[in-house]
């Protein structure tokens, strides 16, 4: 029974993520078109809704080209690592409160482990292998540069990411993500929801910036930087393998948004929802929808940033990471600890 419940949860989450990637790509293209005063894809299906399906079919049908001097096994391995990492991170994120169904209480979280945040940090730190190996195994100087940049960038920003979370951990006193969300369902001064964005604004901003860098999105997309590196680490990839990198990028975006929502925006908590007087099941559904809604808002912000900001230069990226973000997050952790000690 437990195994059945667990596999149902995995299937539902994976299906939801894959479908949302399809729509996310379309939303991104339509939104970028709006920002740049274009029309965007609107020919395939009503309002262009089937555009992504057509793209997937195209990627599947394309010939898989591997450069002659490439390291074939590693060239195949790199996209698999990327997609595996993107798929496994979501496992510890609670997407709703415990739900009562057919007499059993089901936690809306795939894996309830007491090292939740450390698990996320450990898995995201592996994402760099996919990019680095793709860059090296292609045997192309642009790919190699992209791979080198990605390893330097992701190691640098992982530090600020981990240190930013320390403030949240100190407030919650645990690494379990479900407890962290539960702590945020209280109210400050009787009316303000006790979300960590209000309690830990510095941590929120630094974590959000680091999340952009970890997902390789503009303004931190140095590993693929089209104008200077052709395509960066995925220059030599075509067809399905390119598709996997593409899928991994968007799944990482969704997961990063989910982590931001869980840690800082109250997770599935809808303020004042208990005033609606809903029964158990309806309330749980509402909470899951709240969680999804918050993720969508963060994703729209991700997309808006991508199409409105220019790319950083490499030295700017490094000095921002090491000289601004790292001291800021360290100071935040110290101040949080001092305040907690004083009160």
């Amino acid at each position: 029974m437990d195994i059945l419940i667990a596999s149902t949860k995995i299937a539902v989450v994976l299906a939801a993520m894959l479908t949302s990637v399809v729509f996310l790509v379309l939303v991104e293209r339509r939104m970028s078109a709006f920002i740049q005063n274009r029309i965007g894809p609107n020919r395939v299906g009503p309002y262009g809704l089937l555009q992504s399906v057509a793209d997937v079919v195209k990627l599947l049908m394309k010939e898989d080209i591997v450069p002659a001097k490439a390291n074939k096994p590693l060239h195949d391995l790199a996209p698999i690592i990327s997609i595996a990492v993107a798929m496994t991170t979501f496992a510890v994120i609670p997407f709703g409160n415990a739900i009562e169904l057919f007499g059993t209480t089901i936690k809306l979280q795939i894996a309830d482990v007491n090292i939740g945040i450390l698990y996320i940090l450990a898995i995201t730190s592996l994402g760099v292998y996919g990019l680095t190996l793709a860059g090296w195994s292609s045997n192309n100087k642009y790919s190699l540069l992209g791979g080198l940049r990605s390893s330097a960038q992701m190691i640098s920003y992982e530090l600020s990411m981990g240190l930013a979370i320390i403030g949240v951990i100190l407030m919650a006193g645990t690494l379990r993500l479900d407890v962290i969300v539960e702590k945020q369902t209280e109210y400050l001064l009787g009316w303000l929801p006790a979300w960590n964005i209000f309690l830990q604004p510095v941590a929120f901003i630094t974590f959000f910036i680091a999340a952009f860098a970890e997902t390789n999105r503009l303004p931190f997309d140095l590993p693929e930087a089209e104008p200077e590196l052709v395509g960066g680490f995925h220059t030599e990839y075509t067809g399905l393998k390119f598709g996997l990198f593409f899928l991994a990028e968007y799944m990482n975006m969704i997961t990063a948004s989910a982590i931001v929502v869980t840690l800082f925006l109250g997770g599935w908590h809808l303020p004042y929802a208990d005033m609606l007087g809903l029964s158990g099941f309806a309330l749980s559904i509402l909470q899951v929808l709240t969680f999804c809604g918050k993720i969508v808002l963060v994703l729209l912000f991700f997309i808006a940033i991508r199409w409105t900001l220019p790319r950083f230069r490499y030295d700017q990226l490094m000095s921002l990471g090491w000289k601004v973000m790292l001291p800021l997050t360290l100071a935040n952790a110290l101040v949080t600890a001092l305040i907690l000690l004083a009160f």
Binding site: N114, I115, A122, W136, G147, E158
Partner: protein
């Protein structure tokens, strides 16, 4: 067989196979990746011993940071296939392998004939002592001094690495 036994034999096989691959591959990048696999199987073995914190730190520090550094250096120096060294079998190396085998036999003799007293029985308090809370509490009380010394060690390592890797000293 219990779940622990199944996991142990599986992970043990993976870790030994990957360790052999590390020292036999020509290409340093392949070696490094097999070492990452080895670290993963070790992380799994730590989980069978209920050492959750150590298992996650193993992945985070070894696989996520140290091995990325290795790969970074291998790529930076471009030590791929073209640069792979010619390894020759010499008498000295055979002697090395012989000595290592003797060493292995010695350890297995000690284990097999119970020359000393090993703790028998099952993993008893493992579940409780492997958690982040317990380790954190011990780390900041009983092991505070070594923990603080570690920071000096890391500072020295940072300075040393920067000085060594710098292109030219002014």
């Amino acid at each position: 067989m219990t779940l622990q036994a199944v996991l142990f034999y599986l992970l043990a096989a993976v870790s030994i196979a990957s360790a052999i691959m590390v020292i036999t591959r020509r290409n340093p990048v392949t070696s490094a990746l097999f070492l990452v696999l080895n670290f993963f199987s070790l992380g799994g073995l730590y989980l069978t011993l209920h050492a959750q914190f150590i298992a996650v730190i193993q992945i985070l520090v070894y696989a996520g940071a140290i091995m990325v550094l290795f790969l970074f250096v291998i790529m930076l120096l471009n030590l791929g296939d073209s640069q792979s060294l010619r390894e020759v079998i010499s008498l000295r190396k055979l002697a090395g392998v012989g000595l290592s085998t003797a060493f292995l036999l010695e350890i297995i003799y000690i284990l097999g004939f119970r020359v000393s007293d090993f703790p028998a029985g099952e993993v008893t308090r493992g579940l409780e002592i492997g958690t982040v809370e317990y380790i954190g509490q011990k780390l900041f009380t009983d092991y505070l001094f070594p923990f603080e010394i570690t920071s000096i060690l890391l500072l020295a390592a940072i300075v040393g690495a920067v000085v060594m890797a710098k292109r030219k000293l002014d």
